[in-house]
Symmetry: C2
Subunit: 286 residues, 2 copies
Amino acid sequence: MHQPSVTQAAMRSFSQATDPRLGQVMALLVKHLHAFVVESKLTKQEWLCGLEFLTQSANITDSERNEFSLLSDILGISSIVDVVSQPEGGTSSSVLGPFHNHDSLVRPNGVNLSGDQPGQKTWLHGRVLDAQGQPIAYAEIDFWQNADNGLYPAQDPLQDPHNLRCKILCEADGSFNLLTLRPHPYTVPTDGPVGALLAASQRNIWRPAHFHVIVSAPGYVGLVTELFPADSAYIDNDTVFGVREGLIVPLLPSHNLEVAKRYGIEMPFLEMNFDFHLVRQIASPA
Amino acid sequence: MHQPSVTQAAMRSFSQATDPRLGQVMALLVKHLHAFVVESKLTKQEWLCGLEFLTQSANITDSERNEFSLLSDILGISSIVDVVSQPEGGTSSSVLGPFHNHDSLVRPNGVNLSGDQPGQKTWLHGRVLDAQGQPIAYAEIDFWQNADNGLYPAQDPLQDPHNLRCKILCEADGSFNLLTLRPHPYTVPTDGPVGALLAASQRNIWRPAHFHVIVSAPGYVGLVTELFPADSAYIDNDTVFGVREGLIVPLLPSHNLEVAKRYGIEMPFLEMNFDFHLVRQIASPA
């Protein structure tokens, strides 16, 4: 078989899939992976290196650590999947990352998550609106971030597992607010084959600082996104390509006396104001 | 970032690789994988399925079994790598497969590998020639195949580890011959995620019968190939896409009395005649 016929035979081999979508996705995966081999003129030795890379990734993968997920992130696959599935008209989505927990507690709107731990007090507030700018009542915000040492609770046995994360029900006018801390940049895990690849590529291993947010409301497409303080390091070279223009938000000193009094904090504290826009779900065809 | 800018950023992230070829290959891998996501409009749910597939493949992979190598085979990646790296003018190469051993014993030209085990006696003979049809003296042939039960020694504790494999030094005129058995179709391993994918795709899981051969001679590009008896089942839908037109060879009844006498076998036995053509190595640039 010649080059085109090997590719055509491999694509055709998926044409009888019981789920036609599986057949379609697999045929396109074959098409594009073969095009990669052809354009790069990949040698057998290089193909063996790739296989060895995947085998090493398998060896380091367990229930706590998934090197394939990390590989997807640093190749920008997770981000391009995110961009492709983005509905038009709403706030940009971004990557979920590995630190989301489903069991965050519902706390009152206005909650103080920062307590007395170290870090710069940051008042995050805004509204949840539809694509036309009208308030969505009682949307849910699921919020998580890392602590002042750059670590998430899952990475840091000294933190309470619920530290700096919660769910909040927004008000009838769409508004929400909470007191938290400035988030910090952190590196992806570099002790596996992906770390070796990043090193050999002389690539940045850091993500810029960010808040993680999932916004959901009945009748609207759920939004998984991140907010990036505009003054964060690595905002221009996020190693997982999660930064989108509309998600870079100023984090500015605030002298809002009412807020300082409410939380009993010193001025100036930091303030971030952001409105989320959700897109209406399209009714599925019957 | 929009779609093109995520892809461009991910490609550019490899531009500082210490080995420029690594940077080139990774950028092209990013380009084509992103193109796959865009063309298939891959959903997050489908991406998570893909990640779960790789994680399951990691779980079943160990020193004896490599699900990633199998995945590469059934997607035709191994074959397209093989086709792309094929030098012009020689015998077609084909996939190495997982059953090659480096420690096969050198046996005399004409060796009888079949002994008294079950199977159809098959006389394999031919010559090793250059691209112009001139004999190459004393080339080495590394030969292996499965037994009459369809299994290789590595899969079958009842077989001698050296059963039906050997190395042979060809004669000064390029000729070689040996007595072996008709090889048989066999299935790829189907107890892992690749097997589930093949089942969901309603794909054939069989490879057609074949002899494995590696031909090497100083000054020539080594040839890793397979010879497929023309009457084998699955010749038109090899599940790893290894069949090439020039490698389908008649396996015909023979009444050659001299050969029958030499090996003490009954007529008719089976006969396959095949000449290998090797391509001269090009001197590397200084």
